[in-house]
């Protein structure tokens, strides 16, 4: 019997970089990653402030996103997941 090795470490839903692979129930989702806080909010215009507060990437396909392992080590981390297939990418 031959088996194709899965692209993700098995037994996972979300791979916590510290605790290992755990069910998604243990995590809280943090949405898109790599969203920078405006350098100087005071002088940031309404539109660009609105972009920071309300606009996030909503990519179909490989998507850099944040999770926090709330039921585990409480560390925030980013991972890349394909939002079209749910595959977690290296």
């Amino acid at each position: 019997m031959s088996t194709v090795p899965p692209p993700w470490p098995t037994d996972v839903l979300i791979p916590c970089p510290w605790c290992g692979d755990r069910e998604d129930l243990e995590f809280k989702y943090g949405g898109a990653g790599q969203v920078a806080y405006p350098k100087d909010p005071g002088t940031t215009g309404d539109a660009s402030w609105a972009r920071y507060v309300f606009y996030r990437p909503n990519t179909k396909g490989p998507f850099v996103e944040r999770w926090v392992h709330t039921a585990g080590c409480r560390r925030w981390f980013t991972l890349t997941r394909d939002t079209a297939t749910h595959e977690i990418l290296p």
Partner: protein, 196 residues
């Protein structure tokens, strides 16, 4: 002292039910509360070797830096909670001493030391049927090959956050659960023990 006489553990009301369950269990399952353990939450940057070795000197052993592992010696254990966070566990009534020694090891500006002894209580689940019992509510793979004595995991058991520490191969598990959730988890364990 008086204080010890009047303190009350989170699961004091469950002693009888646990005892009955353990007696009634025909599958070698025993459940009891291990109350009042000294528990100190320690946060320190592991790359600060000075702090790490000072703490090792105070404890008599080094903090475990491998995730999901526990280091123990002389009745003291240290459970890994996160990359810069540990739980020091000792016999009851040592929080003042342990907290002081850790503080002195850290000095000023070095991480954090917090007495959380009353934050969680410990439920001991032991016996050949212990793994099957936990499998009713724990998604972590507790198979002997994957989860050995000296391993620990912060996870969910049913709907409660727990820290699971495997003590020995019996297997004996220590479940650390926050005091306010302890009653729920006890009820869940009593119910789950009704499943074969």
């Amino acid at each position: 002292m008086i204080a010890e006489a009047i303190r009350r553990s989170a699961l004091a009301d469950y002693a009888d039910r646990f005892a009955f369950l353990s007696a009634a269990s025909n599958r070698g399952l025993s459940v009891r509360e291990v109350p009042f353990l000294t528990q100190i939450n320690l946060r320190v940057n592991p790359s600060e070797t000075g702090h790490m070795s000072a703490i090792a000197r105070e404890l008599g052993f080094a903090l475990p830096v491998d995730p999901n592992t526990v280091a123990s010696r002389g009745g003291r254990s240290c459970l890994w909670l996160g990359p810069d966070e540990w739980l020091i566990v000792a016999r009851p009534n040592q929080q003042t001493a342990v907290e002081a020694s850790l503080r002195s090891a850290l000095g000023e500006h070095g991480g954090s030391v917090v007495d959380v002894s009353a934050n969680r209580t410990v439920i001991e689940v032991t016996g050949p049927a212990a793994r099957d019992l936990l499998a009713h509510g724990c998604a972590v793979d507790l198979h002997p090959k994957r989860f050995e004595p000296g391993h620990c995991a912060q996870t969910l058991l049913a709907r409660a956050g727990v820290m699971i520490h495997l003590i020995d191969v019996t297997p004996t598990f220590h479940l650390y659960v926050r005091a306010s959730f302890a009653g729920y988890l006890a009820d869940w364990l009593l119910d789950a023990s009704g499943s074969d």
